[in-house]
């Protein structure tokens, strides 16, 4: 936590989304660390601690599911919220079984993301 702000790692390969979402989430009281790919995210997670991670499922390289599994292996307490542009009820349930706190479907309001992220931080 930095200055009372929750530390949020946002991973998405879309730069525009990353930029816009990061700005908004900053305003919603998060310290956002925007990252474009899974490898960088894992590297940053080794060095810094975060209160919540938000991942895009479909990414080049290490995808969101793989990243979720690796994070959960190393940091089982760290809540992870998944963002996906293509999923179904069952796939979402599957992701939650694999350790995701929640699975949100794109496009969803940033406020919704902020709300879920806050709930994740509070629960852990």
């Amino acid at each position: 936590m930095i200055d009372g702000k929750k530390r949020l790692l946002l991973v998405d390969d879309e730069v525009e989304f990353l930029d816009a979402a990061a700005k908004t989430l900053e305003r919603r009281g998060f310290f956002v660390c925007p990252v474009q790919d899974g490898e960088t995210a894992l590297m940053i997670l080794k060095r810094q601690s975060f209160d919540v991670v938000i991942l895009d499922v479909k990414m080049p390289g290490i995808d969101g599911i793989e990243l979720l599994l690796r994070i959960k292996k190393r940091l089982p307490q760290l809540p992870v919220v998944l963002l996906t542009g293509q999923s179904t009820n069952r796939q979402a349930s599957e992701m939650i079984r694999k350790g995701a706190f929640e699975c949100l479907c794109k496009p969803c309001a940033i406020d919704k993301i902020a709300e879920v992220a806050r709930a994740a931080v509070n629960r852990h």
Binding site: A20, Q86, C105, P107, A109, I110
Partner: protein, 592 residues
């Protein structure tokens, strides 16, 4: 009515498929079968008729020949017996004794006693041809036979049986004469044969009603009375060749076929002719043929009836098999089409969702910044309105892409025996508020003790929700929607009936196609009902839509009963299309 029941839908398609896959028309099959079965039967019938006719005719002719042979022997015996009798008397008596007053009449009476009146008269003739004594009804005592044919022959041969001739009495008759010859004397004992007795003997050879029997000599003159000719008339019979034993031949006389059997008698001087109309000879054959033909006709009728019914039955079976095949083919095509469409839809939705997410994020960003910027109230409100409109449109796009995604996604459904009454009640309860606001009466009509059905609960809820939603959309002001559930013999029937505007006939057939929507553009994606149909069919259930424009619509789903569904197991492995309307999966899961 738009039918999605396999048999019904297959009907139209089958005609073309049938012609394509099974090009032999029914009439040709029938013709081939008839030819194959009728032809051998006809050959057998004709062959049997030919054989039996031949055998029966041969048998008839054989009998006729045997009879004629017997008669010929009898006639020969008759003549020979009388000749021998005369010979015996000639040898036993002297000329002197026979020419005495009462001797010849005594012999005459004796002969007629023994031979039953066979002799008409009896005379003794000397070597000069002069009548020495005579017994008979003609006055012939003064007659001299020296120059007659018979007198000449009997002197040469010793005995003679003449042909029929007129003689002195001017009446046809024939004689038997024997020569008695000693060293001192030559005389002849001559008898005339009673023609009635002889005719009666010959006529015993007559056969049947059309038969006749007569004797002709070598020159063709009648020696006995025939039914058509008088004695001594010239016979019109063609010259009969010399032959041994008995001979039969078929001749045509005045257009009529006649079987003529002949035997040479009287040492080859006479011919016994026995004739009978062929029609009478072949009467037993004709009768046999009649019964045979009757049996063949009955067999043919049965054969044709069997062929027609077998062809009808088989072609119907083939048609049904083709329909079934066609249905599978159609389903396969539909599945492939839907799968391709789904794949495309899912990819497209994903690609659209990415920029939508950015627009959504930027729009929140704009909103945040607007709060911080000091602007004129009017300008601020205008900007807020613009941002709100953008937000609504993004949400609208999101709903569409979600539906596309659900259409395109394949998921494993969990098919279990499910009590669907709570599912219906829950879904109806969720939609009650919406119905109430629009002044629509939403009610349930559920029979008690409806058995469980093998479906996926989530999919069931989805289908019910969609159908109710469709009904809500179709009611313009106020109306009613009834959700009924009842059991019939084989299935559980779920029906959603509304009093909405109904569906015009021309679009009823298309409402289940993906992306087809009867609603104005922007009001419907055209995916809802196609997803419902895909889901329902994946359960092995049937769905049909009946609609009367202005009266309303009834959608009926017939669900297989869980306990009796033989296909239940396979459903566990079935991949189906599902559709989801909610944005948050987690919320939905919690509700489940």
């Amino acid at each position: 009515m738009a039918q999605f029941v396999p048999n019904k839908t297959a009907q139209k398609h089958v005609g073309g498929y049938h012609n394509r896959e099974f090009p032999i028309p029914t009439w040709l099959i029938l013709l081939i079968l008839l030819v194959v079965s009728v032809l051998p039967l006809t050959f057998i019938a004709v062959g049997s008729r030919w054989m039996s006719t031949r055998l029966l005719m041969d048998r008839s002719l054989e009998l006729q020949r045997a009879m004629v042979e017997g008669r010929a022997s009898a006639i020969d015996f008759f003549l020979e017996e009388r000749r021998r009798a005369l010979e015996t008397f000639a040898n036993a008596n002297s000329l002197q004794s026979l020419t005495q007053n009462e001797a010849l009449p005594r012999v005459y009476n004796l002969l007629n006693d023994v031979y039953r009146g066979a002799f008409e008269d009896l005379g003794v003739i000397d070597a000069e041809g002069k009548h020495l004594a005579y017994v008979g009804r003609y006055n012939l005592l003064d007659k001299n036979y020296r120059h007659t044919e018979w007198f000449r022959v009997v002197n040469t041969r010793g005995s003679y049986i003449s042909d029929v001739f007129w003689g002195y009495r001017k009446n046809p008759h024939f004689v038997i004469a024997v020569l008695h010859k000693t060293d001192r004397q030559r005389w002849i004992l001559r008898a005339t044969i009673n023609s009635k007795t002889f005719d009666a003997l010959v006529s015993t050879a007559k056969i049947g009603k059309t038969g006749e029997a007569f004797i002709i000599n070598r020159e063709g003159y009648y020696q006995t009375q025939s039914s058509s000719e008088k004695m001594l008339n010239k016979s019109l019979l063609r010259e009969i060749r010399r032959h041994d034993d008995v001979e039969s031949r078929r001749i045509i006389e005045q257009g009529k076929a006649i079987i003529q059997t002949t035997a040479w008698i009287n040492s080859g001087r006479w011919i016994l002719v026995v004739r009978q109309h062929e029609q009478e000879v072949s009467a037993p054959v004709d009768q046999a043929t009649f019964w045979g033909a009757l049996i063949v006709i009955i067999a043919l009728v049965l054969l044709i009836a069997t062929n027609v019914s077998a062809t009808w039955y088989l072609t119907r079976r083939i048609d049904n098999a083709n329909r079934q095949k066609d249905l599978y083919y159609r389903d396969l095509l539909q599945s492939a089409k839907t799968a391709s469409l789904g794949e495309m839809a899912a990819g497209l939705a994903h690609e659209i969702n990415k920029p939508l997410a950015i627009i959504s994020a930027e729009q929140t960003n704009l909103w945040d910044q607007l709060e911080e910027i000091d602007l004129d109230e009017n300008d601020k409100e205008t900007l807020i309105n613009s941002i709100e409109r953008c937000k609504r449109q993004v949400e609208r796009c999101a709903i569409i892409t979600q539906k596309m995604l659900r259409f395109g996604e394949q998921a494993e459904a969990s098919y279990e025996a499910t009590d669907i009454i709570p599912l219906i009640k829950e879904t109806v309860h969720l939609m009650e508020q919406q119905a109430h606001e629009r002044n629509i009466n939403l009610r349930l009509d559920i029979e008690p003790n409806v058995p469980r059905v093998r479906v996926d609960a989530t999919e069931m809820e989805q289908v019910i929700a969609h159908l109710i939603n469709n009904s809500l959309m179709s009611i313009e002001n106020s109306g009613s929607i009834v959700i009924s559930l009842k059991r019939n013999e084989y299935a559980v029937e779920l029906a959603v009936r509304d009093s909405g505007v109904g569906i015009p006939k021309e679009i009823l057939e298309r409402i289940c196609e993906p992306f087809f929507s009867a609603r104005p553009i922007g009001k419907g994606t055209g995916l809802g009902l196609s997803v419902c149909v895909a889901i329902v069919r994946s359960w092995g259930a049937e769905i049909d839509v009946q609609s009367d424009p202005g009266q309303g619509t009834i959608v009926t789903i017939r669900l297989p009963v869980a306990d009796t569904s033989a296909s239940a197991e396979k459903h566990h492995e079935t991949k189906v299309l599902s559709c989801e309307f909610s944005n948050s999966f987690a919320q939905r899961d919690e509700r489940r």
